[in-house]
């Protein structure tokens, strides 16, 4: 049932990376409970623009939970209350009328705040780049299914490949570790025949880059798995560790 709601948003406002930020509380009245959280921010921003104030900066693109662009902490939980969803897929009906919702950017040394709720997640891209290429023949497109892959393996690789690189795992981790993201990427390619030629150097280089970017180490709190919008399991972190052992063994 659609209801009208009044909500208070306590939002981290920071004009640029070099100026300290602070929380500012805004009240928004008479909004539909079927609106999404990002739509609530859109409404707030229209009001702010009308008043001549700077709107709240936040990232979003697809708004259907597939691109990995959105993300911040909602009441202390990365992406918000409903598990297995991105911030853009959180709806006001899952909050209480009159509630104060705290929105805070993902925080990690490797994710510097650019403005308000927007952080720089390019560290994740650099880890991907450090993983490097995979050896496939270019030229005319190969026939589909020309490389047979057992169903179970294909499904496991898909599970890992579901990671959309949102960075919520880093944000939620008490150690600000990127292990879930990195392990999903490593496991994905390590499982597939196309990932075999560079398998050893990929894990070593990606782990090395992860450490260089200033992410913390994994203490197995498993918080990442609980906030991951794609339900990536910490099984992948174990796979990454096995891949790493394997790589050390074969050096």
């Amino acid at each position: 049932m659609t209801k009208k709601m009044t909500l208070h948003l306590r939002i981290w406002r920071q004009p640029n990376p070099h100026t300290p930020g602070r929380f500012v509380t805004y009240t928004i009245r008479d909004v539909s409970s079927d609106m999404s959280l990002l739509e609530l921010l859109d409404v707030l921003n229209e009001e702010l623009i009308k008043k001549g104030e700077p709107p709240v900066e936040f990232d979003s693109d697809c708004r259907e939970g597939i691109c990995g662009t959105c993300g911040f902490l909602v009441n202390g939980v990365a992406h918000g209350p409903k598990r297995g969803r991105t911030a853009c897929q959180q709806y006001l009906r899952d909050f209480k009328d009159g509630e104060t919702i705290t929105l805070e950017p993902f925080r990690a040394k490797a994710f510097p705040v650019i403005k308000d709720l927007v952080v720089d997640r390019s560290a994740l891209d650099r880890i991907m780049a450090a993983g490097g290429y995979i050896s496939v023949n270019t030229g005319s497109a190969p026939d589909a299914n020309s490389i047979p892959i057992p169903k179970e393996i294909a499904e496991q690789a898909f599970d890992a490949a579901a990671c959309i690189g949102c960075g919520a795992c880093v944000a939620a981790c008490p150690n600000a570790s990127a292990s879930l993201f990195v392990s999903a990427k490593i496991a994905h390619l390590a499982l597939l025949p196309q990932g075999q030629p560079e398998r050893i150097r990929r894990v070593l280089r990606m782990v090395e880059q992860m450490d260089k970017e200033g992410f913390g180490d994994c203490s197995n709190h498993g918080e990442c798995e609980a906030v991951c919008p794609k339900n990536i399991s910490i099984k992948h972190i174990a796979i990454m560790r096995r891949e790493y052992l394997r790589a050390l063994w074969s050096l």
């Binding site: 981290w12 902490l73 709190h221 609980a226 560790r241």
Partner: protein, 222 residues
């Protein structure tokens, strides 16, 4: 080279291997100490004397154990050093998402329970290993009367209280440590990981309880 903790992953290998080593030691140590409760003081002293008879081999094992301790603490401190650097600006509001999260009081306090264990181990080694030598004749052989030393120490209520408290900390350390060590070594299994995650509570509680019984028993009955 493989064990030198250069990377975040290798750090956890070292922490986990040494953690498991210490865990095994602690389990063995509990069974040794239960000899205190047999009713015959000679049982405990005989066992200690038997261990002493290994001489240089025992010294090497002791040094190995100390090395495990140091490597465990070293790798743990490296993990925590990185943690403190990795999020210079903390959250105003932060809570666990619950669900499948394994974040518990125990996982959050590993460094503190660990430091308590370290302080305890130093005290423990000074009190017992390097404590007074009381001679006793058992089966016509002179040996160290460690039983008497233990009884003396645990007839001080303060020592009993401290020992019991530290064993609670040990329980907390192992509640997370038990399954965490397996996960750190890459041993994840969809069916078994939940078992050893939950089983960690039982293992930790049983070990702590075992150690807690001993000083209380000694205080009350010996």
């Amino acid at each position: 080279m493989a064990l030198w903790p250069q990377s975040s992953v290798a750090k956890k290998f070292l922490n986990a291997i040494t953690g498991i080593g210490l865990f095994i030691f602690v389990v063995v140590h509990l069974f040794e100490n239960l000899l205190l409760l047999t009713g015959n003081p000679d049982d405990f002293n005989r066992w200690a004397h038997f261990l002493e008879s290994f001489g240089v081999v025992l010294r090497i094992i002791e040094i190995g154990l100390a090395a495990f301790f140091i490597a465990h603490i070293w790798s743990a401190l490296l993990v925590y050093w990185d943690k403190w650097k990795a999020r210079p600006h903390g959250y105003r509001v932060y809570r666990t998402a619950g669900w499948t999260s394994r974040q518990t009081l125990s996982s959050q306090t590993m460094i503190y329970t660990g430091i308590v264990l370290l302080a305890f181990v130093i005290w423990h080694v000074i009190t017992f290993r390097f404590g007074p030598y009381y001679p006793i004749m058992v089966d016509g052989v002179e040996m160290r009367d460690l039983h008497r030393l233990v009884v003396e120490v645990f007839n001080e209520p303060i020592n009993v209280v401290l020992y019991v408290a530290v064993m609670v900390f040990l329980g907390f350390h192992l509640r997370h440590g038990f399954w965490s060590a397996l996960q750190s070594l890459g041993a994840y299994h969809p069916r078994w990981t939940p078992v050893w995650y939950s089983g960690g509570v039982l293992v930790a509680a049983a070990l702590a309880a075992g150690f807690i019984v001993i000083p209380i028993w000694v205080y009350l009955y010996l």
